[in-house]
């Protein structure tokens, strides 16, 4: 996991605010943001693009056996979300009185992602909530 503060910090705008990018050459939107457009190669003209974080569940799973860093949160639900603006993105689906299902509408929320022990950094991240 991320022990170094810089590796978390350099992704704050994507992880806090779902800011991806859009290639102005072909108008394809990307999340997570990338440097080179898959369609345009050297003719890429990227600009940052803020996604609303609204979308619907495309697929989901409840993880019962977590990786080391997520032991205390298990079980937790992971979804592939189809964002209203087009891209698919993976993220946590937080607690709800409803069961998640494919097609259900979600919106982004702001939560803790990972806490590095008692003394390390706390990382924050977008997650999704059933509407």
């Amino acid at each position: 996991m991320e022990k170094a503060s810089a590796s978390a910090w350099r992704k704050f705008s994507a992880r806090y605010n779902m800011i991806g990018n859009v290639c102005k050459t072909c108008n394809t939107k990307y999340f997570p943001p990338r440097i080179v457009c898959k369609n345009c190669g050297r003719n890429t003209k990227m600009e940052s693009f803020a996604f609303t974080g609204n979308g619907e569940i495309f697929s989901f799973t409840k993880i019962h056996v977590p990786s080391e860093a997520f032991k205390e949160s298990a079980p937790y639900v992971i979804g592939v979300i189809k964002l209203d603006e087009g891209p698919l993105v993976e993220g946590h689906i937080v607690e709800s009185s409803k069961e998640p299902q494919i097609g259900a509408k979600v919106k982004q929320v702001f939560r803790r992602m990972y806490t590095d022990g008692e003394e390390g950094l706390i990382t924050y991240h977008f997650k999704f909530e059933l509407i």
Partner: protein, 387 residues
């Protein structure tokens, strides 16, 4: 380009090999392979080694030079290939290219993974590096989790059931009971799979390949001189590979592995064969859903049709198409860096007619299919017996 043949194979028993470390496993498989190929240490010109994460599992990088040294190949070039779970298949393709190009004659390709020296959660974290570290692993999305997301979508789009998923594991365990190298030599039932502990819904423990130790080695040579070393050289008639995004959600579909489709199409074209010509295939069943996807993406079944066919027994040993006669990753075990090479060893045994209790009758053409990550790499080889 020269024709390339497999002239020697060596395999360790897969499983929890508490008494053996990485170098002992490599040596065990390697000695068998060079003995089988009837070559001397001095004949070998280059070694390609494959391991996914020996640095994470045993703290040892620089594995190819170690393999060359342990087998007594003095001072020859040695190169490690890492392509996650497709490291073995990728290394085999590098060896193939070295021979086909005319650059080298006798080439050794060896894969190993020693996974049981770390805890299960450390192994889970290490394997997670096959996906997208920045956007998947960092969010606690495990490897079974990625395949669970594919399984859930496949169930949604095609009505695939948990029983059909389970039937993949049942078949592969059945095959593994007949394979002396396999980790699990115990038959299981669909109910056993359904009752096993949930890992990532809908995948349970018995839907997942295990954590394994093991090594596999093959020796390659130009076909024109292969008979000098071996009576039944196995010709590699296609060696294809493709890549895709590391992140699962950066792809258009969760129910197909595009890298598999592309590799397979090219392989069929280059080999001049069609799916129906294949007699035996080792596919990458790291999870039960992965075998279903593979059967569809390799062109054996239409999308959405493989799960029922597997459930109905069409891919059992000596039925319509014999799939994963070794037991697959699920039954035989999945020492990650060794897997792709083990698949080639199994197909070689089948085409030579040496597969004993699990022999596919009249096997002439075989295929291997090795996937890295959630589909960011796929390698397909087609092999033929040369009479």
């Amino acid at each position: 380009m020269r024709d390339v043949a497999i002239i020697g194979i060596g395999l360790t028993k897969f499983g929890e090999r508490w008494e053996h470390g990485m170098r002992e496993l490599m040596a065990e498989a390697g000695v068998k392979a060079i003995t089988d190929a009837n070559i001397g240490s001095k004949d070998v010109e280059i070694v390609y080694g494959s391991t996914m994460a020996s640095g994470r599992f045993v703290g040892q990088e620089h594995m190819a030079a170690l393999l060359a040294d342990q087998l007594g190949f003095k001072n020859i070039p040695a190169v490690r290939i890492e392509n996650a779970c497709a490291s073995g298949g990728s290394a085999l393709r590098q060896g193939y290219m070295a021979v086909a190009s005319g650059m080298h004659n006798i080439v050794v390709v060896g894969g190993v993974e020693k996974m049981t020296d770390v805890t299960t959660s450390e192994a889970t974290t290490a394997l997670g590096g096959a996906g997208d570290q920045e956007w998947e692993l960092s969010q606690g999305i495990t490897f079974p989790g990625l395949y669970a997301l594919m399984a859930k979508r496949h169930m949604y789009e095609y009505g695939t059931t948990e029983e059909q998923l389970a039937s993949v594991a049942v078949k592969n365990h059945e095959n593994a009971t007949k394979n002396e190298y396999a980790q699990f030599r115990k038959p299981i039932t669909i109910q056993d799979v359904l009752n096993s502990k949930m890992v990532a819904e809908p995948l349970k423990v018995f839907d997942c390949s295990p954590i394994s130790d093991g090594a596999a080695v093959v020796v390659l040579a130009p076909l024109e001189i292969a008979k000098k070393y071996n009576d039944t050289p196995i010709k590699i008639v296609a060696s294809e590979q493709a890549s895709d995004t590391l992140g699962l959600s950066e792809r258009q579909s969760l129910t197909e592995i595009k890298a598999t489709k592309i590799s397979a199409l090219n392989a069929y074209k280059n080999a001049g064969v069609k799916p129906s010509d294949i007699d035996v295939v080792e596919v990458h069943d790291c999870f039960t859903i992965a075998e279903i996807l593979a059967m569809e993406d390799l062109g054996f079944y239409e999308k959405g049709k493989a799960a029922k066919a597997i459930f109905d027994g069409e891919t059992r040993l000596n039925s319509k198409l014999s799939v994963n006669t070794s037991g697959g990753l699920k039954g035989c075990g999945h020492p990650v860096g060794a897997t792709g090479i083990k698949q080639a060893v199994e197909i070689t045994m089948q085409l030579r007619g040496e597969a004993k209790g699990r022999q596919v009758n009249g096997a002439e053409i075989g295929m291997t299919h090795n996937v890295g990550g959630s589909g960011a790499t796929a390698v397909v080889h087609i092999m033929k017996r040369v009479n």
